[in-house]
Symmetry: C2
Subunit: 195 residues, 2 copies
DNA sequence: ACCTGAACACCGTTCAAGT
DNA sequence: ACCTGAACACCGTTCAAGT
């Protein structure tokens, strides 16, 4: 806390630490609490020190999201049960995004932040669709529809912040959100499979 | 411009004017340009004067979105071709949301801003689904899936702001966005109809 | 390269006061 | 009720400088 440091004295900050601390700050204080200044304070550093490790706040948000996507359960992209594997992949993505649902709308707004993990997932999806005979333009559209539905569901599930004035009308549980998600996903996959 | 006004002198501002001006500001300057201060400036008024007509900025955003939804093409909620009518309804919603796509992620984040126009649309959807024999819990889930997909598609289509550093890789046209949207919607409706 | 102090150019919102 | 002036408590980011 009282750590005095003079200019030039390194504080042991890395990009990974910034992202990890951002995630913690996010879960504790919500999306409005995620500010560069609060993040710097947590790391025991001056606000502008962050700019050594991160280009902008928007880029940081992208990095947090992609860090989140690293937690998606791996599947076999050549699983002969392509529809089952695709369902599992999207379900895991949805679950992982729910962890920071508040952040997801920002993700949507930035058109998907094509970072490494997101790209890898996209490729797995195309592989599975190809196994099901869905290829070319149609595969691209199926991929887009699945992504939109999955990210959209997570964003839609974003809880209002704790001190909200919204009627306390028993927000749906994670379980219920997942069941709802599953149902729509099944409809979508059924449509795609018959294409 | 040089209109001097003393405290108490009304400026002819109404809630409707604030919303309308917000929409114009939004199309001209994008979502980052939509600030209370810029909006007040446009209306020739001090920033805090807006708080006579609007409770918070978040509420204003909700109002703008609902104002937007007023533009959705009316359909007959008892159309026997329920699937066609539902498709048309969602397509029109999608088109209208594309007008301020940048704003849509905020809409998602606020869980749908249940204002009057949004409610009316939701009821039409349930009516049409009932005509198709989809009722009760399943109807609720179909409604949710359709809304998530429609709003998600619009949000996903949000153009990066003009001065973006994103590779200028020929962003999809509105026509193409609509075709893509239609394809996924058809899949979803096919799945729902077979439920 | 990595950090600090200070500053710039903003925000949304509130408060007290005037008509 | 409707507006103003002034202020509060913040923001993200940049610049110059120090090691």
């Amino acid at each position: 806390m009282v750590e005095r440091r003079r200019p030039g004295q390194p504080a042991g900050i890395t990009h990974a630490r910034v992202v990890a601390e951002a995630r913690e700050l996010l879960t504790e204080e919500g999306v409005d609490g995620l500010t560069m200044r609060a993040l710097a304070h947590r790391l025991g550093v001056a606000p502008n020190a962050l700019y050594t490790h991160v280009r902008t706040k928007a880029q940081l948000v992208d990095d947090v999201l992609d860090d989140l996507l690293a937690g998606v359960t791996a599947i076999d992209p050549d699983d002969p049960d392509w529809r089952g594997a695709l369902h599992a992949l999207m379900r895991s993505s949805h679950a992982v995004l729910l962890e920071h649902a508040e952040l997801v709308p920002l993700f949507l707004a930035r058109r998907g932040a094509r970072e490494t993990n997101a790209q890898r997932l996209g490729e797995s999806m195309l592989r599975l669709l190809a196994t099901g005979g869905v290829e070319g333009r149609l595969a691209r559209e199926a991929q887009r529809a699945l992504i939109v539905y999955t990210i959209g569901s997570a964003a839609f599930a974003a809880r209002p912040p704790l001190g909200s004035n919204a009627e306390t009308e028993a927000l749906p549980s994670v379980d219920e959100l997942t069941r709802n998600f599953d149902q729509g996903l099944a409809w979508l996959l059924a449509g795609i499979a018959r294409a």
